[in-house]
Symmetry: C2
Subunit: 320 residues, 2 copies
């Protein structure tokens, strides 16, 4: 089943979100508007808004209220991608030129700042102190994680604890916050919105591990960027960490640096794929997925719950 | 009179602000903490926190509440400086190496994001929707202004309207917001906090025009960076705009680009200083200062009002 089919009952609300995204980035500065629109139109699965809306279904769902949260979370995600592309010196994302490639690093930095400020403006429509506290804490953690990711580059003595903490901050916390804030905006009681946070956290971990696997196993066409980019950029993810349990492969991986030749990195990627590391990574992702589904069982039954289950399974096991 | 003498009755509260600033930037990441602390210790006049506190004196002043706003506003200012130094490729600020010079652009970008996220976390202690709306709108305007500043670089056909709109977004709005948010945090009634916003706006305009004058007239030692940096970087400010009213000087100024020789820029700076443009710029700054002082007259009399008057005069006419 395709992802979009899973939440077809939300279609009209997803359209509202898309329209609101486009409306929000209207800027007096044509340059800012173009750079933001470019990022918006590069696509993406809109996973965060979908989680916001579904979590809202556990309470008093009002699209006119909750759309602010859904759009804000997608904008925060977009802003962080624009900044990340500067750091990673990435020219392509989802097969499209990045803002930093199409304009330059300076424009990308301020475009990220602008999109982030817009998200805050939307959030001011939500008069719940708890929502703001959760979001601000998440933002702090995300930025700490971003710095950590820079520090951990090409650091081959890192362990799984470093990796898991990094992907928690990089991905899982914002998905967890999407679930929790969607629920809070819909007046869902605390015991439930805390479980939705947990669900989002586990799904987010599984999602990112899957992403990290796909960077090794998917084709360049599917990824919209060359396969093996993570390792080439010194970003040590689950498959590399599992593969490094083998001393010989570890020795090869430790040779990776920015200037490594194309042929050599291809060889190392092959070694990793043959080592069983991909299967171990899939098992790790499945472990988080299982935890997510368990938490879900504790939530009241409704249409959203079934959809959350389907989406969790999809994004934890997707092929690209 | 020295600036610090003007608000000596606030000394113990200013110490609380300094301590809270240092506490807030404690980070799990040592690198982030060092980069943030470096920015913090580079100094600055702490104008924004002082305005927050003084504005709070028009209402129910509680340092335990208002310190959150004061520290948040200073952090937002710091974050924007860290990002601006990347854009301006600036190695020095206030005589100290910038974050981007001491570390690199990537660290500077995320340090800015981190400091900004911390400011949001502090603001969640203020449960007043109006405060959050004003701050978010200000942030959007500030980022629009930053992009505009990039677009306007070396654009010699710009006029005073472009310049004034730019410095409004760059400086005046955040100072205006400092005054208004300090008042809102102290439950000051709307008619008064709106006037404090206006006061801050006019002071901010005067402050930035003075800053732009000093970039031509102060010494490298006073500025902590080479004089004439603005023009060299293509940032066309009041003195250059006034000087361009003379067609011959305009012709010379239009030759400025990033690769201009040291001797030639020195010559152009001399021409601007001899043209009467500095005096006209001072008059413009005084005009805004006068408006600020007029608004102040409409506010209830108290100790803070007198101090605001002294500070406004000081920062509108300071020598460095």
């Amino acid at each position: 089943m395709k992802l979009k089919m899973m939440y077809s009952f939300l279609n009209s609300d997803i359209n509202i979100i898309e329209k609101k995204l486009e409306e929000t980035i209207q800027a007096e500065s044509l340059l800012l508007q173009q750079a933001s629109l470019h990022t918006l139109q590069a696509g993406g699965k809109r996973i965060r808004p979908i989680f916001v809306l579904l979590a809202g279904k556990f309470g008093h769902y009002d699209i006119d209220v909750i759309k602010n949260v859904a759009v804000a979370l997608e904008l925060i995600h977009m802003a962080s991608l624009v900044h990340d592309d500067v750091i990673d010196d990435a020219d392509l994302r989802r097969g499209q030129p990045t803002v930093k490639a199409k304009w330059d690093n300076r424009i990308a930095m301020y475009t990220g700042d602008f999109i982030f400020a817009l998200s805050l403006e939307l959030m001011t429509n939500i008069h719940k102190p708890a929502a703001h506290k959760i979001l601000a804490k998440t933002m702090v953690e995300v930025t700490v994680g971003e710095i950590q990711q820079i520090k951990d580059k090409y650091r081959f003595d890192q362990n799984f604890r470093d990796y898991l903490r990094r992907i928690k901050r990089k991905t899982a916390l914002l998905i967890a916050a999407s679930c929790q804030l969607g629920a809070i905006a819909a007046d869902v009681e605390e015991s439930i919105h805390k479980k939705l946070f947990q669900f989002g956290y586990y799904v987010g971990m599984s999602f990112q591990i899957t992403d990290d696997i796909l960077d090794f196993t998917a084709t360049e066409e599917e990824l919209g960027k060359p396969a093996g980019s993570d390792l080439l950029q010194g970003n040590i993810t689950a498959p590399a960490l599992f593969a490094m349990e083998n001393a010989e492969i570890r020795h090869e991986i430790e040779k990776v640096n920015e200037y490594i030749e194309h042929q050599q990195i291809e060889k190392i990627i092959s070694l990793i794929k043959q080592s069983g590391a991909i299967e171990k990574s899939i098992a790790l992702s499945d472990l988080y997925l299982k935890k997510a589904l368990e938490i879900l069982e504790e939530l009241p039954a409704n249409k959203a719950k079934k959809t959350l289950r389907d989406i969790a399974k999809f994004i934890g096991r997707r092929k690209f």
